[in-house]
């Protein structure tokens, strides 16, 4: 599942991953993402940090409170992406603006695309 408040980034990231054969769900903020968790049962989360309604920090905090263990990759334009990743106990990060291959490689660390299985 991809969560980002910027619609262009959301659609582009989803498009890249779908083209690689993944099933992708999208949400434009943390609150919508949380609501969708039960329905879509994602295996990996790509999470933007600065978002309205519920941001990346709030979203990961809720995950911990609900004891949901799910690998989270944060996507951020901040200089200190590494520190933010550590702050929310994320499995990894991709720094915006990332290249297509950076994104694919980061995702493949956690999940092989269905085509290759």
């Amino acid at each position: 599942m991809v969560i980002d408040d910027d619609p262009s980034i959301l659609i582009t990231v989803a498009g890249i991953l779908r083209f690689e054969g993944y099933d992708v769900a999208t949400a434009t903020n943390g609150a919508d993402g949380l609501r969708m968790l039960d329905q879509v049962q994602p295996t990996l989360l790509l999470l933007d940090m600065r978002m309205p309604v519920l941001d990346g920090w709030g979203f990961t905090k809720t995950l911990r409170e609900r004891d949901i263990t799910l690998p989270v990759l944060i996507m951020t334009a901040a200089q200190d992406a590494r520190r933010w990743a550590a702050e929310v106990n994320a499995a990894g990060y991709v720094a915006k603006p990332f290249e297509l291959l950076d994104l694919i490689e980061a995702v493949e660390q956690f999940q092989e695309p269905p085509e290759h299985q």
Binding site: D6, S8, I9, I11, T12, V13, G15, I16, F19, M49, R50, M51, P52, D55, W57, A77, A78, Q79, K96, P97, F98, E99, L100, L101, L103
Partner: protein, 603 residues
């Protein structure tokens, strides 16, 4: 022994003791004032001595003996006049005429046979009483011009003069009855004590008299570093020091390390003196020790003219030094040496030390403010850079990833149809990036004052309606209130940019919807425009800095609201470069209104 006699002896004893003490002082420090004081008490002492001789002698005294005694008593009022001159200036004519008149009145005492004619006695009493009266008034008037210890001393001197004058009149009345003897004895004793307190107060009493003013100054000292300017602080220190010493004036000379000069501000004029050993303030500063200069024109002839011009005959100076830091000097000056005592130096040094603490605190406060301002500027710049980087990276992310996705797709499936929505996304993000870059460029143009280009007659109402119609989402809604066209000479592109910026801003900070109302009207020679929202509002503390570069509201969570803080800075630039004003009113949580007033013509 009768009560009168006891009182008489007691007052004689007091006068003799005072004389001995003033004599010792005059011998130790032979200054005019000290000698005048010793003389003033020496004469009564002599009169008392003569009185004692006549008391113990069995035979009647010769005529010359009584004449001498009378002359001495008469001379007291002249000696007092000299002391008046030591404290306050006596007209030269009076100072020269009084001794002539004195001699003229004394000679008949020696040459005329007893009993003396009545008119002579009347003249002598008149001479004495009038001079006493003059002295009393002069002391009271001088007391009004000074404060603290000097005012108390002058009042004591005035009291003494009045009592002495009264004593002489009463002495004349003693012939009418012995009861007047007691009054006369009281007056004499009171006069002696008053003169002693006024002219030669012991150190302990001086300290006690200085204490209230000193205490008041030290009480205020803690507040002084908070005064708006260093000059205001210096003026307060000067006032406090002058009052504590009972002097007319105190001045602080600040050391300027660059020019190696002491800078005094005297009645608004800056006076600069090189730091040299050849004048009292320079000496105190160089030697780092207090200096007492009782007669500056005599001791420093090259500064005599300045000293007279500034009425600074007597100077008390102490260095103002904070630890190793030599800040300057504190100078207390008076045209009359007699108001100072040598042990006042310790007090001046104490005041100078206090001034050092005050000035040093002030410089620490200034330094802290400078550091804070630097840190604030750095923080704003850092915030701006991180916000700018974030804002530029967002469209760039889509541009890079989307372009690479399309490339990958085209390589893998060369026959697939063109991805139109992908291309549209690329264009949209490229335009977004363009507008951000243009904002950055505009911000730098604002600083150079080159934002506004060619002006033409345009209708703001039409412009506002168009900008409002661009706001397509259902919430918040955008409505325009205008009675009709409002036209003026403006740069059309910048005006659109201004209105669109304000509407976008209103939309951005109205996350829960509400109405955005744009009102356009004419008011006198101005076009007026307001843009109101029902959004999150602006805290009152942020309003003054709202239009400054990089500033964003303190209630703006930058994780929710992206932005570089340039929008309103550019808006203000556009309005001001059209000769207008922009301001905002807001209620936190209720919404914000931006107000604009633009002159409708260019002149």
């Amino acid at each position: 022994m009768s009560a009168e006699a006891l009182l008489q002896y007691l007052s004689w004893l007091v006068f003799l003791l005072i004389f001995v003490s003033t004599l010792i002082r005059a011998i130790n420090r032979p200054r005019r004032a000290n000698i005048d004081i010793a003389l003033l008490f020496g004469v009564p002492a002599l009169v008392i001595l003569l009185g004692l001789i006549s008391l113990t002698s069995s035979s009647p005294m010769p005529a010359w003996f009584n004449a001498l005694s009378g002359s001495l008593i008469l001379s007291i009022s002249y000696l007092l006049l000299r002391l008046v001159d030591d404290f306050a200036n006596v007209p030269v004519a009076l100072l020269a005429g009084a001794p002539v008149l004195l001699i003229a009145l004394c000679i008949p005492l020696f040459v005329l046979a007893q009993p003396l004619p009545g008119w002579l006695t009347v003249l002598q009493i008149a001479y004495f009483v009038l001079l006493q009266l003059y002295a009393g008034i002069a002391f009271v008037r001088a007391a009004r011009q000074v404060t603290g210890v000097t005012r108390r001393r002058l009042r004591a001197a005035a009291t003494g003069s009045v009592l002495l004058g009264a004593d002489i009149i009463v002495l004349g009345l003693t012939r009418l009855g012995s009861g007047w003897m007691l009054v006369s004895a009281f007056a004499g004793l009171g006069c002696g004590i008053s003169y002693f307190l006024g002219f030669a107060p012991p150190s302990l009493l001086r300290r006690a008299w200085q204490e209230p003013e000193l205490r008041a100054f030290l009480g205020r000292a803690a507040l002084l570093p908070r005064l708006p300017t260093t000059q205001a602080i210096i003026e307060e220190v000067e006032r406090g020091a002058a009052t504590a010493l009972g002097a007319r004036r105190a001045s602080v000379g600040l050391f300027d390390a660059a020019t190696q000069q002491l800078h005094f501000v005297v009645e608004g004029d800056l006076r600069q003196f090189p730091v040299k050993d050849d004048y009292p303030a320079g000496r105190a500063f160089l030697r780092q020790e207090p200096v007492f200069s009782p007669d500056t024109p005599r001791d420093y002839p090259q500064y005599a003219a300045l000293s007279r011009a500034t009425l600074s005959t007597a100077l008390l100076i102490a260095p103002i030094t904070a630890g190793e830091k030599r800040l300057g000097v504190l100078t207390i000056s008076s045209p009359h040496t007699v108001i100072f005592a040598d042990d006042d130096l310790a007090l001046v040094q104490l005041l100078a030390d206090q001034a050092a603490v005050v000035l040093e605190s002030r410089s620490l406060i200034d330094e802290a403010a400078r550091v804070h301002a630097r840190e604030e500027a750095t923080r704003l710049k850092d915030d701006f850079l991180s916000a700018a980087a974030h804002d530029l990276k967002t469209p760039l992310t889509t541009l890079v990833a989307q372009a690479q996705l399309m490339e990958r797709r085209a390589l893998r499936r060369p026959d697939a149809p063109a991805d139109i929505t992908g291309l549209q996304r690329l264009v949209k993000e490229a335009l977004r990036l363009r507008s951000l870059v243009l904002d950055l460029l505009d911000a730098s143009r604002v600083e150079q004052g080159q934002l506004v280009g060619r002006r033409e007659e345009i209708d703001l109402t039409a412009l506002v309606r168009e900008a409002c119609s661009h706001q397509t989402s259902a919430q918040p809604t955008c409505t325009v209130e205008a009675a009709g066209p409002v036209s003026g000479m403006y740069d059309p592109q910048r005006m659109s940019q201004l209105i669109e910026n304000l509407i976008e801003n209103a939309v951005k900070y109205s996350p829960d919807g509400g109405d955005i109302r744009v009102h356009v009207w004419e008011e006198a020679t101005d076009a007026r425009l307001t843009v109101s929202d029902q959004g999150i509002g602006i805290p009152p503390a942020d309003l003054p800095t709202l239009f400054e570069r990089f500033h964003r509201g303190s209630n703006v969570d930058d994780r929710r609201f992206s932005g570089m803080g340039l929008g309103l800075f550019i808006c203000r630039g556009i309005v001001e470069q059209h000769g207008g004003h922009i301001w905002a009113t807001s209620e936190l949580g209720q919404g914000t209104t931006f107000h604009i007033a633009l002159p409708r013509t260019t002149d």
